[in-house]
Amino acid sequence: MIVAIATLVLGFVIGYLGQRSRLCFISGYRDFFLTRNTALLKGVGGAFLGALGGYILFSHLGGTIPEFPIFASVGISDFSSEWLIMLIGGLGVGIVGVLSGGCPYRMHILAAEGRKSQWFYLLGFYLGLVFYNLVTVHLMVVIRTLM
């Protein structure tokens, strides 16, 4: 129950702040590449600094921050098929993000503002989730086995 309430409250806060600030984790890079505008890129930097500061602070205060930092406890894994999958998936997320005009977080916010284009995006998003559960997840198992 605590997980549901905490994420609902955090979601509400970041949804409110995201609507007011136009924070987006794709448009920040895009704007920088297109016009050298760094306003949204600073939002990405803020999230990184906030998370890093939070993990350091809460790990010292005794919060549940296990294996932090991960590279110290787990190390760097050798090159494997997972890195290739991350490469293809990462490029896909970046390209599709630019073509759709923002990250999924921004798209949910724009849909909440009443933009019907983003309603179609979310329709595709959640039908895509069904497709992932029925097809992609099994396809990935086959690809991992072949690699």
Binding site: T7, L10, A47, A51, G54, I65, L99, S100, S117
Partner: protein, 166 residues
């Protein structure tokens, strides 16, 4: 100055998002996996699959953080954005443009996102957690944005080139 009049910069919003995601992991059991405070691909997956499993008795996967109750981040984001838009008079029902294009982009985004197990937000959180795979994927996403931006620019030039001279 009231909250309603306050100007919020993307940096401030990002800072709160990062700090909040660390907070919910540290004290509100949004773990495992680590660095899972906010993810706009995995959290909708968890909620959707949790409901589907409980209603339809399926066996669709979700994270261990959502074992008893699902994460409700996506509901919160929509409600928060709706409240902000309503309070500031920005709630406008604009008609859809290129609906098929948006539909396909949404479809592809969740599939690519779930393949890497992250959205562009969680990649930042994972990198802050010290995960080198996360840093590598972050670089790949930025490279993807660069390729997409080149394509947009090339397409714009191509369309401008086709216009008849006035």
């Amino acid at each position: 100055m009231s909250l309603r009049q306050m100007k919020i910069s993307p940096f401030q919003a990002g800072l709160v998002l990062g700090l909040g995601s660390a907070l919910v992991q540290a004290y509100f059991k949004v773990i495992p996996p680590v660095a899972y405070g906010v993810c706009m691909v995995c959290h909708p997956r968890d909620l959707f699959n949790w409901i589907a499993d409980h209603l339809l008795n399926l066996d669709w996967k979700y994270s261990m953080a959502s074992t008893n109750w699902p994460v409700l981040t996506v509901i919160g984001v929509v409600l928060g954005a709706l409240t902000a838009a309503y309070l500031h008079g920005e709630l406008q029902f604009k008609s859809a443009q290129k609906p098929l294009s948006y539909f396909i982009n949404g479809f592809l985004m969740i599939n690519f996102g779930l393949i890497i197990g992250s959205c562009p937000i969680r990649i930042v959180l994972l990198s802050a957690y010290g995960d080198f795979t996360g840093v590598f994927t972050w670089i790949c996403i930025v490279a993807g944005v660069l390729i997409g931006t080149w394509f947009m620019r090339w397409n714009a030039h191509r369309l401008v080139g086709r216009e008849p001279e006035s």
